[in-house]
């Protein structure tokens, strides 16, 4: 299940490459598709944009009930990642959090994307970004 998907978005997952709709400025990450999920442009014209590594938590939960092989508590957030050059809209992404104290989490917390192993699919590790509170703002 995760193998093909992993390969399809490997470059985006590893380099924070996203795709900006030229009609409505929606930024899609990690998917690059041919239709726009906001304005419905079909076919849409997307241009590659580079996302910054730092973003802001929009909302979050801390998952306690998960299948046995997944470590809990598992914090999860919606993070807005701005574009690296400061232009245009942010990408809104789901992010698992790591190396973060639960008390540090709130709406508006700044987080940084770290490349980590997410899961393994039984045969190999699945790597992508997790987010953590940057060290210098940690108390």
């Amino acid at each position: 299940m995760s193998g093909p998907r992993y390969n399809r978005t490997r470059r985006q997952d590893q380099r924070l490459v996203a795709f900006e709709c030229q009609s409505c400025d929606y930024v899609s990450f990690p998917d690059e598709k041919r239709t726009c999920k906001r304005c419905g442009d079909a076919p849409a014209t997307f241009e590659e944009v580079q996302l910054a590594e730092r973003g802001e938590i929009q909302t979050f939960v801390v998952q306690e009930y998960l299948p046995d092989d997944i470590e809990v508590p598992q914090p999860l957030a919606i993070v807005d990642l701005p574009q690296a050059d400061g232009s245009g809209e942010s990408a809104r992404v789901y992010g698992l959090l790591t190396e973060t104290e639960l008390e540090e989490l709130s709406v508006g917390t700044e987080v940084v994307a770290r490349f980590r192993e997410l899961f393994d699919d039984g045969e190999r590790p699945i790597n992508s970004f997790k987010f953590s509170v940057p060290r210098e703002v940690k108390r």
Binding site: M1, Q63, L76, Y94, L118
Partner: protein
């Protein structure tokens, strides 16, 4: 064009029905429906078509033919509808459309789900299936994220969210078909095990098996079955995604706003006209948000809305008198059909201990989460006495 009317309903008690096969559930709801029709029905002669709502969690094979076999209603078109947690409502909506179009005179709408036949039920299954695709988003997490943001943005309190569960469990003790019949306090909710902060166990609906059926027909045939048909005044269905960057989607469900706008427009009724509502409360926060999405209160004021007791059984606008999904349970394909059945009873004055006095206009609402746990579907039906 003819109107569509609900003229009968049948249900099997929701619960842990290990000993019931899928066919038993369908047969049970169907027989209860046949017996409910005031002036009687000759089902094989009268029923023209069947709409069957199920996600088929138990993997019994996907086809409307399952109903034909379970009921003996052969030689008729039977269609399975799948639309996430709004499956039952959408099955109903499709039948209503066919009746209104004049193509079908009498339709059976039936929904069923065996949630407990999979190893862990839906939440476990969803977690395993979607962990990678949705980057770790399980159902409680998906809804819990709205709770976190709603509390932050509107100063909604954790206690106000818990109050939804307290209300619905209290109602559920008075509703004969509810799965979990116990009362709980705000403290009980707050002290129950954390599932996904900020939601605890008592903020979540149970894993439940069940089936429910309703009979839908046109103007001409309705009086043949009952002197008290319930008219389908309007319906709406819409979809949206969390990830389109709409900030409203962080706290609310824009699809519910779209679906209810359509239903209000078609019916000529607005939120103020609704006397009783059965809405989707898979989690306590879902119902709280739904007050705003359906226009029962202003954006950000859902906490105050429940604090004032407005959605309570004896309040100004009772919501989920049946106990909702939180108490009644959420056998996905049956859920929306059971909500329609409850509104049908309410508008006929047949709702027993949970009857809302003089209810004339009722609203039913289902929301569901689609692929990648990012998309939402929402269905709203408005019925009138």
């Amino acid at each position: 064009m003819t109107d569509a009317h609900v003229v009968g309903s049948g249900i099997v008690d929701f619960g842990e029905k290990y000993e019931w096969s899928f066919d038993d559930l369908l047969e049970g709801a169907y027989l209860d429906l046949v017996e409910s029709v005031d002036h009687g029905i000759n089902p094989t002669a009268d029923i023209d078509a069947i709409w069957y709502g199920t996600l088929d969690i138990a993997n019994e094979g996907s086809s409307g033919a399952a109903v034909a076999h379970a009921t003996g209603l052969f030689e008729k078109p039977a269609t399975q509808i799948v639309n996430a947690c709004a499956t039952g409502s959408d099955a109903f909506r499709n039948a209503v459309q066919a009746v209104k179009a004049g193509d079908i005179e009498v339709a059976l709408v039936i929904g069923a789900e065996k949630m407990l036949d999979s190893t862990e039920g839906l939440i476990g299954g969803a977690a395993l299936e979607r962990l990678w695709r949705g980057r770790g988003v399980t159902m409680p997490a998906f809804f819990g994220m709205r709770a976190t943001r709603h509390m932050e943005q509107y100063d909604t309190t954790r206690e106000q969210i818990a109050e939804v569960s307290v209300k619905n469990h209290e109602n559920g003790t008075k509703y004969p078909h509810a799965h979990q019949q116990f009362e709980c306090s705000v403290d009980d909710v707050m002290e129950s095990a954390t599932v996904s902060y900020p939601l605890n166990l008592y903020d979540c609906c149970p894993v439940t098996d069940g089936a429910c059926a309703v009979l839908v027909t046109n103007d001409e045939r309705s009086r043949e079955f009952t002197d008290a048909p319930v008219r389908v005044a309007g319906y709406g269905f819409s979809t949206d995604s969390f990830m389109r960057g709409d900030d409203l989607a962080l706290t609310n469900f824009p699809a519910s706003r779209q679906a209810s706008s359509m239903a209000y427009e078609r019916s000529g009724y607005g939120p103020d006209d609704v006397d009783v509502a059965e809405v989707h409360d898979c989690f306590s926060i879902t119902e709280l948000i739904t007050y705003e999405d359906l226009g029962f209160c202003e954006q950000g004021e859902a906490g105050a809305f429940i604090d004032e007791g407005i959605p309570h059984l004896d309040g100004e606008k009772p919501v989920n008198p049946s106990g909702g999904l939180l108490s009644k349970g959420h056998p996905i394909g049956a859920t929306g059909v059971a909500q329609i059945a409850e509104i049908f009873e309410q508008l006929r004055g047949d709702a027993g201990d949970v009857q809302v006095p003089d209810a004339e206009v009722g609203l039913q609402h289902n929301i569901g989460i689609g692929r990648n746990a990012t998309g939402a579907v929402s269905c709203v039906n408005v019925l009138e006495r």
